[in-house]
């Protein structure tokens, strides 16, 4: 058993692509080894800014001889079939094949002996094929070559059992191929010259000595521990940011966390602005004070052990932050000299979409929708809703949002507060883009809900009206997100919003229903239960729709529910079977059975139970008490069971009786289907 070590050294790989590439390297190599008939114990992959590495343990050093049989055509088969067989089996003529009687006649058989041999002989092809198939999200060529890689490839370590595998990466053009070797390079600035390695342990240790932490998880640990320690010493708390941590771990081979300070003059700029500058633009970690407010310290992770202990690096980072924040502060001071209302004419100059007009026109649509939505949002002050809707896009023409587009809404809120507009209006301006995704905060204040809903309903109805509907993976206007936003705001706030009041397009309602299905399915609701309720159609009140789904799901969880479902199935099956035989039957058995023709006690019992159910279900449905409606059904179960025990439906010589009994069964189905399409439920 031996170890395979691979390292693909290149120029700097984008941080976001590294971990996926390491996983792909591991998966593809595993598959290629398997295809070559090679087992192994364990494969581990690593990634960093300049390298992908893979170690595979426990590969046998030699492959045994194997023979494989392949059945060919029948003896005496046409020449074409014989030639095809010979070609596929790699035989020169039938002399090399065997005749065998399979019991179903004589057939040609090829016995293909694959000679084993040293594993090292096949590994170069494995490495080559893996490198050719590794899928980078974006790849490029360089120099005069045509080979594609994420960035120019510099060297390849391919060691098996401590020995360099023979092989090379062809670059084409007039470029010298990169020969497989046993050397790499350490940190770009903290290490000089080539490093020769004998195996993974040696590689790992020598890289560490050359200031490269190979494992991204370990780099993250070092960053986090170092950053927390610095924060603690400065009596602040590091703000957790998993995404930033991942990214920074992909930018450094030798992480050196350093503590910097935000100039005091910027501390009254809104914290979101500071955070955006630090995090998104400079990859700096934010710290918080004990009370949760933004602290004036930040942590930057350098990729270098500087001679002066990092003083120059911190100084440079503080300077660049200062210049970014002076810009921001300039905008903050300037922007507050203009009111949001004064900004509105500016929206006429921005095209929202060629077919949908300007931002100003969009705002008018949103305001009209918001006014209508406000009627359905308890506690929403209509005047405030209108004000917030009219001002919600005004910050798009502010200096700050021009410079930091990701702060749209957030800045509008601050400017509204500065103008002393009602807090509910300011919050609604700030909240109206929310929720931006399944995990984002959902507006819960009445004015915010109304404006946020109007914003999303406008996007949906407007793009629908010009035929821009999402298809497959194409959703350039993020309409799925808008739909999910509508659903979340409505459901999480239990808003009774008759959606059809806001748009006429029937397929838009279907689209919303489809998104709701996806949404509730993710929450673990059974898909057949969802289908059963959605099959009723025609429901535009999402809260009521969901209440039905939930009631049905919990009813089906009870024994009564399960038994009733069985009874429903029997009734429906009989009716369906008879309907198949007689196309006109459906019309004949619609309606209530004839009481006079009910002969047996069991059928009378079902009829009266049905009547009872209808008496209690109707008011329950009207009160939207769906669990009470379901519970009412439970009373049907015993009579129906007794009916099936004692009563024959298809009475041969009494067609009138048969028809009446089918009517009874059909009524069971119809009564239950009024609440949900039980035929969709899987038993």
């Amino acid at each position: 058993m031996a170890e395979l070590l691979l390292e693909l050294l290149s120029e700097e790989i984008p941080a976001r692509m590294q971990s996926r590439a390491a996983e792909d390297l591991k998966r593809l190599t595993g598959e290629a080894l398997k295809a070559a008939g090679l087992a192994f114990d364990e494969a581990r992959a690593f990634s960093g800014p300049r390298r992908l590495a893979l170690v595979v343990d426990g590969i046998p050093t030699a492959r045994p001889d194997v023979s494989e049989e392949r059945r060919g055509p029948r003896v005496g088969a046409p020449e074409q079939a014989v030639q095809g067989f010979l070609k596929a089996a790699g035989l020169a003529s039938l002399d090399q094949a065997e005749k065998r009687d399979t019991g179903k006649g004589e057939f040609w058989f090829a016995v293909i002996r694959k000679q084993g041999g040293p594993t090292a002989d096949v590994l170069p092809d494995v490495v080559d094929s893996v490198m050719k198939t590794l899928p980078w999200p974006k790849s490029m060529k360089w120099g005069s070559g045509t080979r594609l890689w994420v960035r120019p490839l510099q060297s390849v370590i391919a060691l098996f059992d401590g020995k360099v595998l023979p092989g090379e990466v062809m670059l084409a053009g007039s470029m010298t191929p990169i020969r497989f070797g046993d050397t790499t390079r350490g940190h770009r600035f903290l290490s000089k010259g080539e490093i020769k390695v004998t195996g993974f342990a040696d590689y790992h240790a020598k890289l560490e000595a050359a200031h490269v932490v190979l494992d991204a998880a370990e780099r993250k640990k070092i960053i986090l521990a170092g950053a927390r320690k610095l924060a603690q010493e400065a009596q602040v708390v590091l703000r957790d940011d998993e995404g930033l941590l991942d990214e920074v771990a992909g930018l450094v081979e030798w992480p050196v966390p350093l503590l910097g300070t935000i100039d005091a003059q910027f501390m009254d700029v809104p914290p979101e602005v500071l955070i955006t500058s630090m995090k998104a633009h400079l990859r700096q970690f934010v710290t918080l004070r004990g009370d949760g407010a933004l602290a004036s310290r930040f942590v930057v992770v350098a990729n270098n052990l500087a001679r002066d202990g990092g003083r120059t690096i911190v100084d440079g980072n503080e300077r660049v932050l200062r210049s970014r924040l002076s810009d921001a502060k300039f905008f903050w001071d300037q922007d507050r000299k203009t009111t949001l209302v004064e900004r509105l004419p500016g929206l006429q100059g921005i095209v929202f979409h060629a077919k949908l007009g300007t931002q100003a026109e969009r705002v008018q649509r949103i305001a009209a929708l918001a006014a209508a939505v406000a009627d359905c949002v308890p506690g929403a002050d209509k005047a405030q809703v209108m004000m917030a809707a009219e001002l919600c896009k005004a910050d798009l023409v502010s200096g700050m949002v021009g410079e930091f587009p990701e702060l749209q809404g957030v800045m509008g809120r601050y400017y509204a507060l500065h103008e002393k507009l009602p807090a509910a209006v300011a919050d609604a301006i700030g909240d109206h883009y929310a929720p931006a995704g399944p995990n984002d905060r959902c507006p819960s204040a009445p004015v915010s809900m109304a404006v946020a809903l109007a914003d999303k309903l406008d996007a949906l109805t407007s793009f629908w009206s010009i035929g821009e509907k999402p298809t497959g993976s194409r959703d350039p206007y993020a309409l799925r997100r808008a739909a999910l936003g509508v659903i979340r705001i409505v459901l999480e706030n239990k808003l009774r919003l008759p959606l059809r009041r806001f748009f006429k397009q029937a397929d838009l309602l279907d689209f919303l229903a489809e998104r709701l299905k996806v949404q509730v399915r993710e929450k673990g609701v059974r898909h057949d239960v969802i289908d059963a309720v959605f099959a009723l159609g025609n429901e535009d009140d999402l809260v009521r729709l969901l209440a039905r789904v939930e009631a049905l799901q919990s009813f089906l969880g009870t024994e009564a529910g399960r038994n009733l479902l069985t009874a429903y199935g029997r009734a429906a099956n009989i009716v369906r079977a008879e309907e198949k035989k007689d196309k006109a039957l459906a019309a004949k058995i619609a309606g209530v059975p004839d009481v006079a023709r009910l002969e047996l006690a069991e059928e009378k019992a079902v009829a009266s139970a049905l009547a009872e159910v209808e008496r209690s279900v109707k008011p329950a449905l009207e009160k939207e008490d769906f669990s009470a409606a379901m519970q009412a059904f439970a009373g049907l179960r015993a009579p129906i069971d007794a009916f099936f025990d004692k009563v024959t439906v298809n009475v041969q010589d009494r067609p009138d009786l048969r028809l009446n009994r089918l009517k009874l069964l059909n009524q069971i189905r119809a009564t239950m289907d009024a609440v949900a399409d039980f035929s969709k439920i899987e038993g």
Binding site: E11, E12, P14, A15, R16, P49, K138, M140, K141, W142, G143, S144, G145, R151, P152, Q154, G173, S174, M175, T176, R188, F189, L251, L282, R283, Q284, V300, A302, N303, N304, A306, R307, D308, T312, I313, D315, G316, N317, R319, V320, L321, S323, S326, D327, I350, V351, A354
Partner: protein, 301 residues
């Protein structure tokens, strides 16, 4: 050469450094253009089978970025220093880092990062992959491996390095405003700042760009340049034709700054310039293939 002490020494240092790397040191193209990439030394030379190492300063004009000299970091006229190495040599990053060392960025003291940044020019029909290079958080250069120019896949990949000189100088000389940069040495007989040289220009040019440019005339110029470009291409004169493309591009930028081009029209103007650029690139490429004896023998890397 010792560490640069002023703006012009930064240019001189970079020129000397890239000359030593084998580049021809060119002078700026004598036409208005939005970026150093528009220079024929980059756009056209990036195509075809012939190796090409060049470096030059290019004044870059972006009418919309004018701020009447009132914004300390933004101008409608600034300088880019551009180095292009075709085909990109295997040690191009080391050579680039050598240039940082030459201008006084000591890599044992600073934190240099290569942060993913893909480059695309819709007007030139060009794209490439590369990085923004950060020094202690400041962007000091852009580095791109050209993959396509004029809609044509390149035969030899150029490594293109662009230094935004003013921004780099602000970093090196620790200045908060471009206008405070020392243009020559502060101990010169006549010490001049960047503002002494360019502040009035920024004010006047901003006024021209935003207020006084004759838009009717510019619309005519655009159409004229477009026509002339087509006529010259028929005569198989890609170099003069490309100059008309540059002219059209800058005219469009001026019209855009004057705010007379709507969002929808904008896209169609960009497309018109791209059509010219593509045609020029194709015509240029044809001349490159047509001249034997100058093939890529030196391109082995």
């Amino acid at each position: 050469m010792s560490k640069p002490q002023c703006f012009q020494e930064l240019i001189l240092t970079l020129q000397t450094y890239w000359a030593k790397q084998g580049c021809v040191i060119l002078q700026p193209y004598d036409m208005e253009m939005g970026a150093g990439t528009f220079h024929t030394a980059t756009t056209l030379r990036a195509l075809g089978p012939r190796p090409w190492y060049a470096a030059y300063v290019q004044p870059s004009r972006r009418p919309k970025d004018g701020r009447y000299g009132e914004n300390p970091m933004r101008m409608q006229h600034y300088y880019q220093f551009q180095a292009i190495l075709k085909p990109s040599p295997p040690d191009i990053l080391e050579r680039y880092l050598g240039s940082l060392d030459a201008i006084g960025i000591d890599t044992t003291m600073h934190d240099i990062r290569f942060v993913e940044d893909d480059w695309e020019s819709p007007t030139l029909g060009a794209w490439g992959l590369g990085w923004e290079v950060w020094c202690d958080g400041s962007e000091v250069s852009q580095f791109t491996y050209f993959q396509q120019v004029g809609g044509i896949e390149v035969e030899l990949v150029s490594g293109e390095i662009t230094y935004g000189l003013e921004r780099l100088a602000m970093y090196l000389f620790d200045k908060k405003s471009i206008y405070d940069l020392p243009f020559n040495r502060t101990d010169s007989e006549v010490p001049l700042s960047y503002g002494d040289v360019f502040l009035q220009n920024e004010r006047e040019q901003s006024a021209y760009n935003f207020e006084y440019a004759d838009t009717d005339m510019l619309f005519r110029h655009f159409v004229d340049a477009e026509k002339e470009c087509g006529r010259l291409l028929e005569r198989r004169l890609p170099l003069p034709a490309y100059e008309q493309c540059i002219k059209a591009s800058h005219t469009f930028n001026l019209l855009d700054a004057r705010g007379v081009i709507s969002v929808t029209e904008r896209q169609s103007y960009i497309l018109r310039v791209r059509t010219l650029a593509k045609a020029c690139c194709e015509a240029w490429l044809a001349t490159q293939v047509a001249q034997p004896g100058l093939s890529a023998a030196a391109g082995a890397a």
